[in-house]
Symmetry: D3
Subunit: 313 residues, 6 copies
């Protein structure tokens, strides 16, 4: 069981702490209320039913609370389900925090912060540098806690920062191979392109879309903020327009949410790097779960393909 709830086999006994991800009330065929709970730990999720629950239970076992559970792994319609025998809220004495149940970026936050600071320090264009610094300061906390997306890729704590750091490394290589690329613009675009997500999503732990996120989206939110920041910092000039364009066009096509396609070299590179890193993250995580000679599950955003893990060394 030490591997986590997502790796438990049907028939196995379970005892331990879990985070409640969601909790929905139902009424059974006997007229009694019950709860359908989704538990999670770092390894993933499992569904459970709490039968004949009281009003109290409903109020206690709510999303984002941590509980201690005893039960057995059963199977229900082809999926594992946790049959709960005992359940209680974790107390302060248990020394457990919700964050402990979230998957985390594979790099330490400190290391990522240092890497970004170094990149910004190396920038030569002062206007670009100031704007990037402004946002890194403004959203420092969010950048290192939010996921990069609600699902599909980098959907874990600090996933946003992890995505940015991977892209910066990739960007650095491309600047070396294709030296005409303007490093300052590219790095600034990488750091800023998705920060709007911290306002598009409601929270780092169980993110849903905010009203602003739904009606405007992270791209428009951030294009606005860059303008406001430039006003505040008293910066004028082409840099502001270029940074806005980098953010605006980074989805590559209007069908994908960018009302203007990339029209400067660095914008096209930013779009490509974003694509590469997101795809690598999805493929790698899917392939990690299978053995050589097997195919992964279908990955919806990769055109629903499944990938084969070769047997050759």
């Amino acid at each position: 069981m030490s591997q986590g709830i997502a790796h438990a086999s049907v028939g196995e006994q379970f005892e331990g702490f879990l985070l409640i991800k969601s909790s929905d009330k139902g009424v059974a065929s006997n007229g009694k209320p019950f709860l359908t709970i989704v538990f999670r730990d770092k390894s993933g999720e499992i569904e459970a039913k709490l039968w004949e629950v009281t009003k109290d239970d409903e109020e206690v076992f709510t999303p984002e609370s941590v509980v201690n559970v005893q039960g057995e792994i059963r199977q229900f319609r082809g999926k594992p389900q946790l049959n709960v025998r005992q359940i209680r809220l974790a107390s302060a004495a248990d020394g457990i925090h919700p964050e402990d149940f979230m998957e985390k970026a594979p790099i330490e936050v400190v290391e990522m912060q240092e890497y970004m600071t170094k990149i910004i320090f190396e920038m030569r264009n002062p206007n670009i540098q100031r704007i990037v610094r402004y946002f890194l300061k403004k959203y420092e906390h969010e950048l290192f806690t939010y996921p990069a997306a609600t699902k599909n890729h980098h959907e874990y704590a600090a996933g946003l920062a992890h995505h940015v750091v991977s892209m910066l490394k990739l960007g650095k290589q491309l600047v070396e191979l294709y030296p005409d690329v303007d490093a300052d613009l590219l790095y600034a675009g990488i750091i800023l392109h998705d920060i709007g997500k911290v306002k598009e999503l409601s929270s780092p732990m169980s993110p849903s879309y905010t009203l602003e996120g739904k009606l405007l989206g992270h791209i428009t939110i951030m294009v606005d903020e860059v303008k406001e920041a430039a006003n505040e910092l008293g910066i004028e000039g082409e840099e502001v327009l270029l940074l806005q364009h980098l953010i605006l066009s980074h989805h590559g096509k209007s069908e994908w949410g960018s009302p203007k396609p990339p029209q400067i070299r660095e914008a096209e590179v930013l779009h490509l790097i974003d694509l590469v890193d997101a795809k690598m993250n999805m493929m790698n995580r899917a392939l990690d779960k299978v053995k050589p000679g097997e195919f992964t599950d279908r990955i919806y955003p990769l055109e629903n393909r499944s990938f084969y893990k070769p047997k050759i060394e």
Copy 2:
């Protein structure tokens, strides 16, 4: 000839004032330089060649200057061409202005200003009213000189205001028929939705796209400006977000340049009214040029259709 250059027949003699829309230098097969000039008046355009021109001619006959021309209408590759016998720059004494050669909105500017003022006066939500007033004041001059587009529909002086006024009238009817529609939001959306074009386009008379227009586009420009205006006016609250959403979504689909589709009733209505008025403007102007029993030319933005003008009374 009094009907204007676009209605001249092959073989006819011409004498009068014309605006130079464009002027391009070429070198003839005999090695001598010549100018390909496009002249325009309110009725439309005609091409001409000036053979064996001097350096002086090149510098004098430039775009946006008005000239007096004598010549004959010929035909070249199936299109009329003006064979110039004499040409001279208009002088102050001629009392001629470039604006006289532009097609104009069929309603007087004063009348349109009054109509908009009345609409704004009737608004009940003070935040919306203040933001709309802010922009009407800020862009008063541009709104009543710019076209609504560089081609296809309302592409004439004050076309932007004409488009807005037609849409307001249409909107007023829809509010009566479907009283759940919030009139303030709808009217504000109509007035603001295309104002970004005054920054997207370079000038009212021979508009081309500005750098900002190309890299951001009029939608993004205006969404930004609404936020800045609200900041400046100290307005907070859902109204700002809703107005931004109205502008952002008014093209209806991401493929058509709106990164978010309409998600409030008034945004959908705004999109529909915009569509209806643009289509009516294109159809009406094409049908005005043909006689009953004939088909119009193909209209590219109307799926390249040509329209039949019935013979029945």
Copy 3:
């Protein structure tokens, strides 16, 4: 409960009359037959199971019959279900009619009839007027009982007439704003465009598609009928062809079922008005069900969007 079955909460007791919309036989895991019944009243629908039914029950509880039911609202797989304790057929003494369980157009039939009569009376082209009158007489009953569609918009008793009347009002406004539009053609097109649905659909109350509806469709059916009516009335001339074209092209594109796109101004206007009224009907009814600050359910024919109801006054 007075608000109707669609508004009942889980746990509530129910007693009253309901219409059987559909009734399907099944065999339970104990080998006994049961019925899955969908009940409806004006507010909407609810599913129920009748366990261990007899042959008699199967023959009695059939679609379009009205019953008196007692039971309790339970929940089954996330949806409310009516747990039936007692059920009996309504008798003549109950004074109940199937029509009482259908949603109705929000305008009275008489009022709609008068409006249409007035519109037809104002027509100036006698050929168009005679053809429209012919159909209003021929399908008078159907026009004021049929829905405009089996689902999505105006899917209630006299929905077809309601759709026509709304479109006429909208059309009248457009004729005023764009006076080149030929009112007679437009109004005739509006009244006739969907009448073919009375032959495409099997009945006003629980409509399914007829063989003719499936193999030809309401557009082709009506284009045929206009020709036959003109023959019968001895009318020749462009009007017949134009009316056929208005009907044929009103879906706007071949992909949407119109083999020819609109090629006269009035056909394009007809298509646009149809679109606007259908969309307004869908949006308004979805927004009526939510509170300010909430989003509606996704509306499939509106590109699966959900709409936000603003909180501002």
Copy 4:
């Protein structure tokens, strides 16, 4: 030269009779009028210029008249052009008819008539047989003079009948291979499916689209006529609906002009046979023009492909 005008080489002298396909007036750079004439004979077409023409010439050298021409084949912008030295109208004495200059179906009309008569004679369903006979009689002349299309396939005199006869032969084979196919329905569908073209197109020799053809199209025209014919013949029953469906659906998809897709087996077969025969006609005629080892010109309606003629025996 005996092979016809389309096979003439640059530099060759020409003397003979040609049909004027089109004649357009222009004004030369010296101000004199000229005619751009397209001549044709059975082999194809060639363009020519008549310089400095008189009013008389304009009135005499009009489309569909036959002339005797002397001149030389030149080249103009990469295409052959006939340089006319002498031209005169053909007189009665020349014994020449416009039809002699049209490409013809490779089978004799009499043979095609006999084949169709035989097919109809073998029909067992009397209703279907009577309707088909009705149309064969009504449009006998047109069926054996009109092309099947204005371009792409079977675009020659009696091309419509040729297309029908080829499809009937193909249909007969399919009925043998798949005996469940109803022969009467299929043959009737084949004979009737394109007859509407005789009303969609203006004439057999230089066809353009009629108003009815543009606003309704040959499919709708014919679906109407089948209904009218059935009324006139007093025929009721499923046959009428099925024949209408066969015609309506024969383009296969709404995007291709059929508002309903094939929904009976014979309609699907009709659509497939139509496709096969049109494609074979296009490919065969293109391949006839090239030698083994060469590629044909690109064939636009075959997805712009060019086809290779193998060298193997």
Copy 5:
């Protein structure tokens, strides 16, 4: 029951032999293991549950084994389910073979073999003949046992050969109607086009995709093999390239899996014949299951259409 398991009615008793198509283990809500088995015979399939199974049961009741079953037809979620009372493995004494439970081609294998041999014998090009013979010999067994597809059309024992033979007959007719078609190329293309499926699919009885099938596909596999065969047979010349092209292009378009579209006449014909035979097979089998006046189930690969079976004689 003699009609087979697919025709059994709810409530009926069953006793007989069935093939296990698939068998999946689950754990019931009481913690006990059970098997979900799909049984099949020639008529089709039925699902069943075996409750409280032992380890032995799991190892015995595996796919491709034949069992004797007693039970009753029940209904579960709208579908029939076999309630098993008794089950045992068929023994040698029962004289039952897995093949007896597979649907078969409606023509005898011997007859199909003779037909193909005759076609090959008539070929005049020795290179083509030798290559076709090579493959007929190499894959003789597979060709007459494999289905033509895992679902949709000809998905039964020897379906591949049946598809080839039907296409050859159709091809023979087309060669007669359009004599320019090269018979040898066409017949060779028909015989070879799908043979790659014997390597794409794992087995004739319960086919799944092989790794080679997934990563390369039957088209690429066979294009390779033709080249290898030609090398082995010492054949050079255009025939090899043409045969490769016929196979490569037979899906008609890149979206359908052919990286090159048909570029020789015979390749286009091959593609069309393949389409016609697959469609006829699907339509005929669906229409066989319904009565006159009824519609078939929707057929997914025929654009999800359902087909009407006319009532006329």
Copy 6:
């Protein structure tokens, strides 16, 4: 003039050596033959007319021959044209080679050879290494002379090798950033993916498509060759299949010519790297031609976009 023919201005005199890219005969309006010649040097191309040419001229001034030309740059229909006064074939004495007139890869061939050799040397899987070596030896000459495409990207001498080397460098960086990627597979895929072009295209200098190229394409050609090479080298095992899959899927989608999409991680990476390097090559070369503050010409394969060159440092 030293900058080359593509940079010559209208009116300038020219004297120097040029390569004839194409030469087409025409007949002038005076009946005399002339040649339309396209000349090229490293800078680009220019068109010219040779009037009143002799039979000898036609035979002498043929594609791929080098000539000495004197003349003047004129303008014809908006494009520069070389007015030839004198022309003669280059002789051995001139010491000029056709290759001198071709654009070349910006890296020396020797350097590229060494880089590839080093990469191959580092491979750890012996099967992959042997197959790659086999092809590098077999096509050594072609790989370092052929372009990577006939237009759009890397369309210059050794462009194929240049594209491979850039991709290898990019691949190396990706392997470092995403260490799960199998370097051997990726590098082998990069080196082999486009080698089929040496058989798809007719020659390195003025490439057209071969018959094999048209009917099979470079992907299919190379997938075949890998199989044949493996047979010849006696290599079996998954490596062969994986290499075939890498080549087969490298266009990413069936619409883009890959019948199977990437289904192993390295195939997806190969596809992405190919995309990145092709796009960078196109953007960089277009941006090299413009000054800061300008837009490039539209680049068709980059969705017809034009790119802006920023003014900021």
